[in-house]
Amino acid sequence: MASHSAEDPNRRDFIVILAQAFAGVGAAVALWPFIHQMNPDASTQALASIEVDLSPVKEGQAITVSWRGKPVFIRNRTAEEVKTAKAVKLTELKDPIARNEALPDRSPATDQNRTKKDKENWLVLVGICTHLGCIPKGQSMGDAKGDYGGWFCPCHGSHYDTAGRIRLGPAPQNLLVPPYEFVSNTMIKIG
């Protein structure tokens, strides 16, 4: 077909290359809807927020609520637990980043950065192990809370401390702090 060498391209060579490129780009563009249809749809994306009344949660208790199909842990920490969490040095942490959606990306994982100012007894976390997505134990009174008194993931043995930070096991990150705010003294809005 190509009667002309590469050094001497003619009009036909150009048209062939152009047609191939056009078809290639067209095929790639046509593929996109078939890939993108699998992404979270509009109804899922419509970011629902929920309000949670904290007044029934006594010191030392915890509740789990569902937000965007995920469990959210809310724990009313004891003074002891807050003290333990504050005493931990950043160098002891496996993941030194706060993982708090309300703060800049690189904020350090101090207990202060994982909670709200003056409400430091309240710890609000997405209750999904950052290893492979199991729900850690530690919400109920009788649960194993792991070596650091926070949460323990039974699937693959990750231990979280009383600020929800990963301390031992395969999980790479601290439990995520979702975006939330106090709308009154005893009411929070998540999302």
């Binding site: 899922t44 199909g69 492979l132 729900i135």
Partner: protein, 419 residues
């Protein structure tokens, strides 16, 4: 030797007419009736037929189940119970499908071990072997998606854990892993949306397997079957026609295997499953001890043996993908382990390793179980990456028989005059 002329002779006018237009009967006769089969193949060579049978069983029972199953988060769990209790013979068809998956894997593990022992991956069978690994991966994907469909607690958390494996990519490119996982889920958590797409793919993949099995058999019939001596077919006296010899052997082995299968289907249908899967999926509570189905346990043990998320995932996937390179990792010029006095020990150590990993994968991820899982994970990779290349070079193989016929009939002098 394998490429041979079909001895098919059309007799009726209709078959002559068809033979001149589409010689499908000629092809089937040549490939599955008078195809030259090594005369010394043992019962391990019946696993291929067994696997073809189970693929057909899974497809037939699966299509029937699809007529009654409802792939939505609200209905899935109840529709499986509906199949078991209300649908006529639904209990039987569902049990065959669920137990069938386990027996499919049992047969494929024997098939793979057979290939490893007799060096069936060595030249000229590399492509045949790689196609086998591809089928194995497709089987794993199909079984995993199928396991999600009853929408019990184990289904739900298996989907959560396995899809989350991709989030480990976050530690290479932050955010990409999460994007992929949400793309797989169609949401921010596993939901009915996820179930629906897994159902669609679970229906599709078996037909992809059929296609690759076609290529696998094609590749097999180009190079011919390996055999316990690992020798090439050199003369017609090394072979017997596939029918009736190999076919009858297949039928007998299949009968025995199906007897065992039937025992599980009728008397122990839930023995290989988990009681937790009879609790409906609950996104807010993980069962205290989650384990995959038995056939995934060795890989699960490898995943958990490594304390780093990304490295664990890489180790798990590479434990399977490494099989692709076995034809080049094994440096021995002798195919069959029967004639490899040193490698034989390593082979059985490797088998023991895989079984041990399976046992450890079923145990909680703590203490001594993790320690042993690390030891056996290490050997798994050492075997493939170090033992296979080095032993092949170092070892002196036992003398090989001169031909397949000689291995069966003794020296040529003692051999009866035949055909």
């Amino acid at each position: 030797m394998a490429s041979h002329e079909s001895t098919y002779r059309p007799t009726s006018n209709i078959s002559k007419w068809l033979d001149a237009r589409l010689p499908v009967q000629r092809m089937m006769h040549g490939q599955f009736v008078d195809f030259p089969t090594p005369r010394n193949i043992n019962y391990l060579w019946t696993t291929g037929g067994l696997l073809t049978f189970f693929l057909a069983v899974q497809i037939v029972t699966g299509i029937v189940l699809a007529m009654h199953y409802m792939p939505s988060a609200a209905d899935a769990f109840n529709s499986v119970e509906h199949i078991r209790r209300n649908v006529n013979y639904g209990w039987l068809i569902r049990n065959i499908h669920a137990v069938g998956a386990s027996f499919f894997f049992l047969a494929v593990y024997i098939h793979i071990a057979r290939g490893l022992y007799y060096g069936s991956y060595k030249a000229p069978r590399e492509v045949l072997w790689i196609l086998g690994v591809v089928i194995f991966l497709l089987m794993m994907a199909t079984a995993f998606m199928g396991y999600s469909l009853p929408w019990g607690q184990m289904s739900f958390w298996a989907v959560t854990v396995i899809t989350n494996l991709f989030s480990s990519i976050d530690s290479i490119i932050p955010g990409l892993g999460t994007r992929i996982v949400q793309w797989l889920w169609g949401g921010y958590a596993v939901s009915g949306t996820t179930l629906n797409r897994f159902y669609a793919l679970h229906y599709l993949l078996p037909f992809v397997i059929v296609g690759v099995v076609g290529l696998h058999i094609w590749a097999l019939h180009v190079v011919g079957q390996n055999n316990p001596t690992g020798l090439d077919i050199k003369s017609p006296s090394d072979t017997v026609p596939m029918a009736p010899y190999a076919v009858m052997k297949d039928v007998f082995a299949l009968s025995v295997f199906v007897l065992l299968f039937a025992w599980f289907v009728f008397y122990l249908p839930d023995y290989l499953g988990h009681p937790d899967n009879y609790i409906e999926a609950n996104p807010l509570s993980t069962p205290p001890h989650i384990v995959p189905e038995w056939y995934f346990l060795p890989y699960y043990a490898i995943l958990r043996a490594i304390p780093d998320k990304l490295m664990g995932v890489i180790a798990m996937f590479s434990s399977i993908l490494l099989l692709i390179f076995v034809p080049w990792l094994d440096t021995s010029r002798v195919r069959s382990t029967k004639y490899r006095p040193v490698y034989k020990w390593f082979f059985w150590l490797f088998v023991f390793t895989v079984v041990a990993l399976g046992y450890l994968g079923s145990k909680p991820a703590e203490g001594v179980y993790v320690q042993w899982a690390r030891v056996f994970t290490a050997y798994y990779f050492i075997h493939l990456l170090v033992v296979l290349p080095i032993v092949g070079v170092m070892e002196t193989a036992k003398p090989l028989p001169r031909s397949i016929a000689e291995s069966v009939l003794g020296s040529p002098a003692a051999a009866p005059k035949h055909r």
